[in-house]
Symmetry: D3
Subunit: 295 residues, 6 copies
């Protein structure tokens, strides 16, 4: 590199850093709940990269909380234990043995994330919703079918989370809740993230998915919507613009905002450093749904 | 019951309560590490009873920490995953897959204990040594054999434990440590309990075992030694009085005391309420090894 | 004792301890005001036993406050100082000199209790209502007779009490208040206890008396009422069931509950360990009046 | 008063206030132990005046502690209780009954001071050395005579004092200590003040006496020594200049300074506002013994 | 001085000190904003005397804040920089250069006061309204004339003041505010003092002026009004009794009280120790306007 | 920009942000003293850019302190006040009037920086070394010439700085100290920065200069030394490699490190964002002198 190139590169670096300034300022000391799981958790290297970005958020003063899913591994282990996984309307029918396996697999994922956080220089603490009775659930009722240990979040007690965050630890949460019968219940990870973010009045809730965001025309990548407010999001749904896997995700976003989260982001977790690019650059790389129109 | 009987019963109740007074006073606010595992964790009902007693200790002002083991279940699940468990000089040869299974099974046990604590009215938080990088380990070297992910405790960082206990949570710890390679390592549960107790300068370390204590003559139950000090414990070993499974246990006790624990108890975990009876009655029900002669 | 007997005894001891668990849990960290005085303060040994029980309450996490009376000793010392004690409708006519004697005698009692607390291993601090202007009184008006320095509680400033309790001291209070003329006034010890308990929103107020509790039929000891709620207590009085010395006591109980105390106990202070038996056993040994029906 | 006189008066007032400035500054936030008792406690009005001055010290930021004596009243009440007071080498022979009377009388004095403090607008708390086991004593041994409950200070636990002062209360202490037998012991009030001041590392210890200070020539009031340092005080004693009641007092001063008190004042408690004049004017009105030469 | 004279002098000194007691008590821990400037800042010696008195207020527990003016020096420096000072309806027309000079001169005054405080033994911190964005202003609009950088107080952020006072520093404030354009604006020192006092809910606001107070008959010095309440102050203005320089000052006083200040004093800053005499003597030396009738 | 370009740009942005991570982590919560002045303070726009970068450091968790100089403006104003600036061996001869002017000019600079900080969204507080008696100086002695009010730092009291930083304010310090005569003294800004950094045990001390760093061959810009340790820095001086304006600067660096600063940076303040580039990129843009070899 010659001197002119060096100067140009320095200029560009400085621009990136100063572009990040107003965002770093605004989000300093805020809770950020990151839902990470499913197909976005492709491979170890991608995971490590995501986790390093979360560590960065922590280091510059934000308060991240990770909620993870278990994904396809659960079925693999259920089969290994000699059962055939069963689903009903997309929900895993969860008998006692299946729940046991689910818990074990989720913990494996949880502890891998905790170890990656350690490697990235930040102390994480793995939790399930049973720890300190953090997440209480009710059994999910489905007409015509007993789903077993499938729960819906009834309440989130943030005492443990706040204590850990106060002491500079990053909580990593498995989507398991405690029933009134003191048994563990499987809960949807997106719902868990949403409930935790609401209970903390989080500034941000991020869904790291395997989709690239919300598009006006899903066929045309140039129609990505960078930001929309609550009214627009509702309109999208009403008009039927949004469909497929995006619909429940968007409904979740709306619900989170209604319950007190300031901003929900839908990001493509496969894009390297999507968290940093979404949070700290003007344009971002996914779709943000805001409580109120920005600025 | 007639009135005289009632009066007699009241008198007896009051006696028990007042007998407990000086012990409750002395141990108020003290750390008590309870190693619970292996064959002492016989069945659910017994477990619940032990956990309720730990909850009682917490409620009256002690600071209990539970360290549990995984026992025979690990081998069961290793087999289920298609491997044959392998041991070398009593230590489980732990390849990557086996470690994964071990972690999962330990977590299952951990979360069962956490749920039982919740049922007993006390908020517990399940931890592994990886959480907050609490337990760092070195790989255990064994001449002539690579044991894989078997570790020895290098250091215990009590920051997370102290933060949780300060906020009135009860830590429940799985015997897993973090290696310098940020991989999980299997560690002996007794050693883990001993290391945690030392790091906290615990007042008490309790081994809930399936033996009844230390006997002068193991054949004669009336020769149970209720208390001995460090010198006596060493003498016992030198004289070869103690043997079998008791020998490593007793060596562990001695080591714990040398590292700062004030009192180590070896109790038969199958005796109902053995913790309460050992702590709060004069005679106790097991063997206590003391730093210094009592009183 | 043979082994079978030992096992039986251990079982009974464990039962007592575990029966106590839910009560210890519920009352942890609660204010308990114990009125102790008059004929219940029979002799030194009984006093020491009561005080040891109060110390136990403190040690297991409750926050006891003792309010004591002076009893018959005051008259003895008034006579010694050359006066004849005078009463009017049951109230001691208290001139300046008599008040001086009353204060001195109450202090003597106070400091004896403080020393007993020390002996029981708990640091107590003797107080009168004049200390830190804790209890302000108004002169008690009685038509047709000037009672002298007899006061009624106007207000209780809990600042000193809370500071002492926060620092783990047990307050022991003499029933003396400060008048607007900055003179000491004699106040009824039951009223004092009631006012202190109300001001602290105490969980429990206990009257240690020389009666065995409230009975449906005072002649039949088997008709002891273990618990009643506010409505029942009022009904009892209306129906004229309760009479004699019990009537003002019961009215005091009702008043305390109306002013914010959660539970008032009337116990026979002569029953050894009545505090422990009432608080920590299911049946109790006296009568409890509750704000709301229990459970 | 005409205008010129008014201006002159204002000037004088301002001078007094500004003269006080460096002293108020220097002693801000310092512990001041005031021994007040014996013949200096002449009458109620004088007492009230002294107490108002102590209140002033408190209000402007110093931390006063009062230690009082009982004086001649004890003998009066001992006689009233039917005994003849007995002294041995100047010390009161104190049997159980006498001790009881002494405690009562001291408390009477104590509570009068507390009430005066309240009247002066400052919250005081009366204490004996038994409260919170503040002052532990050993029995005073005298060859050839059992003095009974006469003690010497063994240790002062300042925990209660510091807690009360931290919460802005003024402690008022009776010279009674707790023996190893948990019985009260009579202790010399000067010694008590000295021990309390040492334990608190007090900035000032003041003896309010009925003498006017230390004189080079006791016959010539103009030879009052305003200040002397430790060396001078010792020289005075060695040279035999000081005698009579002043000798033990001066020895007490020296001992207090040796144990950590910075400055000891001997004042004539009968001079109105002697505390203010001694502390806040350049010349003072009594004798100050200093650790080190002033300025 | 003979002995009788000494006793008399002592008596007088004690009287002054005890007269000050109830005032010192009442104003302990209160905010006192002292506006000091203009013609009252006659010479260095007078300034030092005033500052020493402020230091005294601090030392005895009050929380003084000084707001100073710049006075005639600004014009001198403006001329030196080559401009002719310009006024419009009594307000300085302040272009950019003039503002620069004004800021510099005010800082010079500010730092002289800070150094005097240091000399008087109290740590002061010089501030402008720009520091920590303490005082935000709006540009003062005047029909027909652009006054330039002349501002009116919009808001006072007390965070910095409270932090400094909490740490025992005395703030010394220059009357400069920060505009929305982040430029400095000149503000009237009386208004600044009034706004700061209101924002702090100060107990006292003092105007150190060069007038002797408010008089019923300005010609007759014996008609000085020592105290008046809000109603009386308003009546005075309505009746036209008050005129000249006193009118805006009195309106300022009324406004300050309406905005939360408890008491405003108008004092003649040229009278030595006027602060001490006004605050700590019964009669005072100036005029006090009170929120409510005193006592 | 087409999609491929966008992706490339995102990648580059992410790289910059992640490159910054280990540095942000390492310097989190550290004191950074930035000396800014003289010829580096070229124009308003450059100043604003530097200040915005300091604001960024603050926002991401560092604790910046600015020490500024006054530069050539002082001479300008001295002349305006009618004096001819006088120097002796490079030091300004500072009589009383000159000192007054110097103080005023420095304050002007100070308050401009404070306003720029406000504009950049961070609350700054302007200070001189006189505030809270922060910097005590001794008069600088020069044989054969009285330099007047020129001082050398004697001590730095960090109490005020720590209090302000604790409350999230950024101190901006003028190089003026307080003499024992309570007069202001001119001090060298580099020395002031060095003394403040030492007193705070700062992690970093930065000299923003108008030179580009230390070069092996000043003629060849490619010989810039990015980092050197203490030993190397000393060697450079000994070998005479460094000369001109760089020599005293490098000596200052060495002294700062010897007194406890961990790292000193010499940067060209005219390079845009030099602080960000030096701190958060691997290569940096200036010369860093380290206590110990990095990594």
């Amino acid at each position: 590199m010659n001197q002119a190139e060096q100067i140009e590169q320095s200029k560009q670096k400085a621009e990136v850093l100063t572009e990040a300034l107003p965002y770093i300022r605004r989000f300093n000391n805020c809770y950020v709940v990151v839902k990470y799981g499913g197909s976005a958790m492709k491979d170890k290297e991608l995971q490590k990269s995501v986790i390093r970005d979360v560590a960065l958020l922590k280091l510059i003063g934000m308060k991240p909380i990770i909620v993870h899913g278990g994904g396809k591994e659960i079925s693999k282990w259920v089969r290994m234990s000699g059962k055939e996984p069963e689903f009903y309307h997309g929900l895993r029918v969860t008998d006692k043995d299946t729940m046991e396996v689910a818990e074990m697999v989720l913990f494996k994922v949880n502890q891998e994330l905790v170890a990656m956080m350690a490697e990235a220089g930040v102390k994480a603490v793995g939790l399930s919703g049973k720890d300190a009775e953090m997440i209480h659930v009710t059994k999910k009722e489905m007409p015509g079918k007993d789903l077993g240990y499938v729960g819906e979040v009834k309440s989130v007690d943030t005492e443990l989370l706040e204590a850990l965050i106060e002491d500079d630890f990053v909580p990593v949460i498995s989507p398991i809740g405690l029933g009134d019968d003191f048994e563990p219940y499987n809960i949807n990870a997106d719902d868990t993230a949403c409930a935790v973010a609401s209970a903390l009045n989080a500034e941000k809730l991020v869904f790291l998915t395997d989709i690239e965001g919300v598009f006006v025309d899903p066929e045309d990548k140039s129609t990505l919507i960078s930001e929309m407010d609550l009214a627009q999001a509702r309109e999208f749904i009403e008009k039927g613009v949004v469909g497929g896997g995006m619909l429940p995700k968007l409904q979740n976003c709306i619900e989170a905002i209604e319950k007190g989260v300031a901003r929900v982001h839908v990001l493509d977790g496969r894009v390297p450093h999507c968290l940093l690019l979404e949070f700290f650059t003007e344009k971002g790389v996914g779709t943000a749904i805001l409580k109120e129109p920005l600025f």
